[in-house]
């Protein structure tokens, strides 16, 4: 993820060097045939004509992209207007993913910093505690969140018993529930990369800043954050990218009114309303967004490596 380290052996392995292509071939073929070709095929499918009941007819068509961006009325003869339905879903997904990234950073940065400044013995415990949820099935974590925040769930039960609420808080099927689900799903993804860069941070720099009469928070803003920025950016990418295409949190916690890109795409391939070219087009647009974010990351990574 972060800057690729070519290794510490300058001799670069004379033993296996001349057979590198044979060693890499299995991975190239597997990923090439089962991912690169499928993505290219998906691009082709997004320009085909839809077959009812799923599938495609091999005839070139811009209908999928047209349906995504333009509204031509029910019979296609009205003046062209911009179709807001899908743009709204994409905008909602981007806002939700950005908010999830912000909240994860808000909680994740202090946590990562705190862990990195613990003595070695307690640090291992903290890291272990952050790593466990990272390995727990995402579906189960989302279901647990749903169970906790339901109208008749334990959270509402306790809040009402404690007298804080008089009637249950309706969280399920709101954008707030989806946000909570995204935040909860990807929080460990923010903590771990930031921890990795704070751990390598030379704290003598903070002491130097202190000696030069920098205030605590000034030292953080001007010294610590610029140095650990690669970790922060890596964490933000690891939260933002999966949030953008998330399916489980919006589907289980959001319901039909709070659709995100993931649910929109899924609907085109399941259910009776299936429209494969449209689903392929929506996937291509999502993929382009993600590639844009990754290119931004690669550029900032290259700049910080200089």
């Amino acid at each position: 993820m972060a800057g690729f380290n070519p290794g510490n052996n300058a001799s670069g392995g004379s033993v296996f060097a001349d057979m590198r292509h044979r060693l890499l071939m299995p991975s190239w073929i597997t990923i090439g045939v089962l991912l690169v070709i499928p993505v290219l095929l998906m691009l082709v499918y997004s320009f085909l004509t839809k077959e009812f009941r799923g599938g495609v007819i091999w005839e070139f068509s811009l209908a999928a992209y047209d349906q995504f961006f333009f509204d031509r009325g029910l019979f296609g003869d009205e003046p062209v207007k911009i179709e807001w339905t899908y743009l709204t879903i994409f905008a909602r997904s981007i806002v939700q993913a950005a908010l999830a990234t912000f909240f994860c950073l808000l909680i994740g940065f202090p946590t990562a910093y705190y862990i990195a400044t613990r003595p070695a013995s307690t640090r291992a415990f903290w890291l272990f505690m952050i790593t466990v949820p990272y390995w727990v099935n995402l579906l189960i974590r989302t279901v647990s969140m749903k169970f906790l925040i339901r109208d008749t769930g334990p959270l509402n039960h306790w809040l009402m018993q404690a007298g804080i609420l008089s009637e249950p808080l309706h969280l399920i099927n709101t954008n707030i529930a989806v946000q909570l689900g995204l935040f909860y799903s990807y929080l460990p993804f923010m903590v771990l990369p930031i921890y990795a860069s704070v751990e390598r941070f030379d704290f003598a720099l903070l002491e130097a800043a202190n000696d030069l009469y920098a205030k605590r928070w000034t030292a953080m803003r001007r010294i610590l954050i610029p140095v650990v920025k690669p970790g922060i950016i890596a964490g933000c990418i690891l939260v933002f990218v999966p949030s953008l295409g998330a399916f489980l949190a919006p589907d289980l916690l959001g319901g039909a009114k709070n659709f995100m890109i993931g649910s929109l795409i899924e609907e085109q391939f399941k259910g009776s309303a299936g429209n494969w070219p449209f689903g392929a087009a929506a996937s291509m647009i999502l993929l382009s967004l993600v590639l844009l974010v990754l290119m931004f990351y690669a550029r900032s990574d290259a700049r910080s490596a200089r």
Binding site: F16, L35, P110, I130, L148, L187, S283
Partner: protein
């Protein structure tokens, strides 16, 4: 460390945020775990401690369905892990021991592509691919899809460990007239093993976890544990789902602990 430098490092409130972070991460999981022991059919009223829902998981009406799903999940995860770890080990040696060559960066990007492409996009693309070539969706299509996305997860820990192993080990073996296979099998592999195991554990858990891609490429009539749980949750969260969730939680904890332990003990031999 002097107390003054400790004071400079400490930011007020960070400890509380870190604690809050742990509470947020664990509260939903602990709640589900506690309620899985609830002896009541109403899932929010506490009716005393009981193991009835665990019994229900193994002997109840849905037991057969979940048993088949669990077996599918485990067998697919095992095979995907073996295939992905083998491919990833070979690729990691090619990347870290291949010297510098044109296309190295592209090769690195290709190996990590499954992590970078959003899961839902991979799912759509794979479904379209299998449909276009007329490949019947089912057990085999799930397995193939899992192998692909497991490769980078297996690759990263293996490559990280290889970078820490000096190439003089295998060079010495070759100097002593070992074949390249022998140099790999008897010299490099034993030192590399902790990385290979970490990679395999990660691949296994990632395969066991997957819902989105499996859901797209599985076709009708076959379920893995996550798709079966998802289907059941759509009907409402029943206590037996909480029992299954708690059991899977336990499996994850065991896996992290094992991989943690290997990571700690594995760092001793062969380090440079």
């Amino acid at each position: 460390m002097s107390t003054a430098s400790a004071r400079i490092r400490a930011y007020p409130g960070f400890g509380i945020v870190a604690l809050l972070c742990l509470v947020l991460l664990y509260a939903p999981l602990l709640v589900v775990m506690v309620y899985s022991f609830n002896d009541s059919t109403s899932i929010t009223q506490w009716g005393g401690f009981s193991l009835r829902w665990y019994k229900e998981v193994f002997t109840g009406v849905e037991a057969a369905k979940f048993k088949v799903a669990a077996w599918n999940s485990i067998s697919i995860a095992l095979m995907a892990t073996i295939a992905a770890t083998t491919i990833a080990t070979s690729a990691a040696i090619g990347m870290t021991r291949g010297g510098l060559w044109r296309g190295k960066a592209a090769s690195f990007a290709l190996i990590n592509l499954p992590i970078m492409v959003p899961e839902i996009v991979t799912a759509v693309a794979t479904l379209i691919f299998f449909s276009a070539i007329g490949f019947k969706t089912g057990y085999l299509s799930i397995l193939l899809a899992h192998i692909v996305f497991c490769i980078p997860f297996a690759y990263l820990p293996i490559a990280a460990r290889l970078q820490g192993i000096n190439s003089s080990f295998e060079e010495a073996a070759i100097d002593l007239y070992a074949t390249r296979w022998q140099a790999f099998r008897y010299v490099l592999l034993p030192i590399l093993l902790p990385g290979v195991i970490s990679g395999a554990l990660l691949a296994f858990i990632i395969s066991l976890d997957d819902f989105i891609i499996t859901n797209f490429v599985k076709g009708a009539g076959i379920e893995t544990l996550p798709t079966a749980i998802f289907g059941a949750v759509k009907q409402g969260i029943k206590p037996n789902i909480m029992a299954i969730s708690s059991l899977m939680l336990l499996v994850s904890v065991v896996f992290v602990t094992v991989s943690w332990w290997i990571g700690r003990t594995g760092n001793k031999p062969g380090d440079t």
